[in-house]
């Protein structure tokens, strides 16, 4: 470990944007109550503003006269290895980068992106939780954070095609849409891949998956490691260029959508004229354009609710599309949790938290609030458009022994095709 490399990273990251946000903070502490991890533990160290403490320290000691003076006379200590270790658990295990805090902050400070910057320093110093680092290394070497090899992936895709009797085109040059799945879908929710295949087929979309750009999840982005983030993004972008597609469709993965849609263009060269979109938007467009027809009221049997994923709804903007679909598919049974939409509560498993074993206690505690939300409206089923959230829900309802059915919205749409 090397505290200096963390400090160097912070200094590199600090431009007008970061500085003005840090300067705006009044230390009012309101952000604490926006954080699901603070809500369930009451631990003041989980206050979002405290999570950016190291970045603030680096900024003051390097860029402000008062901070420099204080550091020079020894009133303010430099960032130590010990501090990095301590904050590493706070920013990786107790933060899903859901950015709800930014909505509560009276100053509107973008705490989520700032905490991502704090993680970047941790990644540079090598103070990343072991599980996260291992997954990132696997993604780098094998191509999948779950360790799915090229061969295993190809076999899996073939198996999905046989099992669900669907066509999953691989490396089809001249396709319009490149669909990129996550390893969670490939290994744990293969029904989702089959569902996408059915919908694409029905809509008559020319689509393909790519063996070179087959992983949508970005563990470099979870870690905050910019070099790895770019490497993993480039694999998909290069595949898109090689196949000559018009758009990249991100399947059910929130963080990946953030990386591809909202981050990539600002940190690297992205292929021109290639649109980045999300499965929920494509399904909605197909349906609106009449390319797919869905059975009205197909899921009106049990009360169902929709979970807003931080990166797809609050930070992605796809708020009306799932609701329009659900009001068609379950006009009587669809009920909203409270709060919802932009203000929704995070599932507790995003931002890489779900893959860190040490964070299990925290993420289940946070999920307890989702259980309460669902109970309050008597939901018997819940749906979402993020397989990371879905995994958290599947494990969470099992943990709480709560009898709610967890479904992916894509799979529901595929099931309602006429």
């Amino acid at each position: 470990m090397n505290a200096q490399s963390a400090i160097d990273t912070y200094v590199k990251e600090i431009g007008g944007w970061v500085a003005s946000q840090l300067e705006a903070c009044t230390r009012c502490g309101l952000c604490a109550d926006a954080c699901h991890f603070y809500q369930v533990t009451g631990n003041p160290e989980y206050a979002p503003v405290w999570k950016v403490e190291l970045l603030r320290k680096a900024y003051q000691q390097r860029f402000t006269p008062a901070g420099r003076l204080k550091a020079a006379v020894g009133l303010d200590k430099p960032i130590t290895d010990e501090a990095l270790r301590k904050w590493s658990t706070i920013v990786y295990e107790a933060c899903t980068l859901c950015n709800k805090c930014a909505l509560v902050c009276p100053m509107g400070i973008q705490l989520g992106p700032l905490i991502h910057d704090v993680r970047a320093g941790m990644a540079a110093a090598g103070v990343v939780p072991a599980d996260l680092a291992a997954a990132a290394a696997k993604q780098k070497d094998i191509g999948s954070p779950l360790g799915v090899t090229d061969k295993a992936w190809a076999e899996r895709i073939e198996w999905i095609g046989d099992e669900w009797e669907v066509k999953v085109p691989v490396d089809l040059t001249g396709a319009d849409t490149l669909v990129v799945f996550s390893s969670i879908e490939t290994m744990k929710f293969p029904d989702n891949i089959a569902a996408v295949a059915k919908i694409m087929d029905k809509a008559g979309e020319k689509w393909t998956v790519s063996s070179a750009g087959r992983e949508v999840v970005n563990f470099g982005f979870f870690e905050g490691d910019e070099a790895l983030t770019k490497l993993f993004l480039a694999r998909v972008f290069d595949a898109a260029k090689a196949l000559g597609v018009k758009r990249i469709m991100i399947s059910e993965c929130g963080h990946a959508y953030d990386a591809f849609r909202w981050t990539a263009a600002n940190i690297m060269d992205v292929p021109r004229g290639v649109e980045v979109t999300h499965i929920i938007r494509m399904m909605y467009d197909f349906w609106k354009a009449g390319r797919i027809r869905l059975k009205k009221g197909a899921y009106d049997d049990v009360p169902i609710t929709f979970h807003d994923s931080c990166k797809i709804q609050r930070r992605g903007g796809h708020i009306k599309e799932p609701r329009a679909l659900l009001e068609w598919l379950a006009p009587k049974a669809f009920k909203e949790m409270s709060p919802n939409k932009e203000q929704a509560l995070c599932c507790g498993g995003g931002g890489g938290v779900i893959s860190i074993r040490e964070a299990d206690g925290l993420r289940f505690a946070a999920f307890g609030q989702k259980v309460d939300q669902m109970k309050a409206i008597g939901a018997e089923a819940v749906t979402m458009v993020c397989s990371n959230c879905r995994l958290q829900f599947v494990e969470g309802v099992a943990h709480f022994n709560f009898g709610v059915k967890v479904r992916g919205l894509t799979e529901m749409v595929a099931g309602a095709l006429e």
Partner: protein, 225 residues
């Protein structure tokens, strides 16, 4: 030295110096941040950035505690919201619409404006003082605020509190002779003005940066800020 001489000094040259330190210091803070470099956002937008900015300013001014999502943070922090809100209201009302303050503005800017009746600004000043005391107690007892609050933040509190108290005592003719309390009021105001550029009270300037970003980020993603 008698109090009349002191008063002449503190509301004359000392006030001018304090004002210059305040303006110069804030300019320095602003320019330093501006010069740190700004990268262009190359991400294509889904919605309107400008629309998001307008929405966030409107929403930021109307914090309505009965909206469920606000309630979730409001209920455990009612003191911060209510006392914080009342303090800012009191501050703006008294400093901008109090008659004596308007006259100071007039002497500086060359033009004046209608002011609020004395009983109203006086009452609001009292509200501001009470709000500050409540906020201090809150800061001493709330676990998150205790973690966040270090030495300089207490100076912020003290340097803001004193002008309020001395001003209130002056207009209500409490305890001290007029020249004495007027001098004390001006001294505390000058200290506050000098202190602001070195403190987080400067948030009134950077607020416009963070709010604008917040609105633009939400607008870009076509979500409500």
């Amino acid at each position: 030295m008698d109090w009349t001489t002191i008063l002449r000094f503190v509301r004359g040259p000392f006030f001018k110096v304090a004002l210059l330190v305040f303006i110069g210091g804030m300019m320095y803070r602003l320019i330093r941040v501006l010069l740190l470099g700004w990268s262009r956002d190359r991400v294509p937008s889904r919605g309107s950035k400008a629309g998001g900015v307008v929405k966030t300013y409107v929403k930021g001014l109307l914090v309505l505690p009965f909206i469920p999502w606000v309630k979730r943070t409001f209920t455990p922090n009612a003191l911060t919201y209510i006392a914080g809100g009342l303090f800012h209201l009191s501050l703006f009302a008294v400093v901008i619409f109090g008659t004596p303050h308007m006259l100071v503005w007039k002497s500086l800017l060359g033009f004046g404006w209608p002011t609020l009746p004395f009983p109203l600004t006086d009452g609001l000043a009292a509200v501001g003082i009470i709000a500050l005391i409540v906020l201090m107690i809150n800061r001493l007892t709330h676990p998150v605020l205790r973690l966040l609050t270090k030495g300089p933040l207490w100076l912020n509190w003290a340097f803001t509190f004193l002008p309020f108290v001395t001003g209130y005592m002056m207009t209500n003719h409490l305890v001290f002779r007029y020249e004495v309390i007027y001098s004390l009021h001006m001294i505390t105001v000058n200290v506050l003005l000098i202190w602001i550029p070195f403190s987080r009270i400067s948030h009134f300037l950077f607020y416009f940066f963070s709010r604008t970003f917040h609105g633009a980020q939400a607008g870009k993603r076509a979500v409500n800020p």
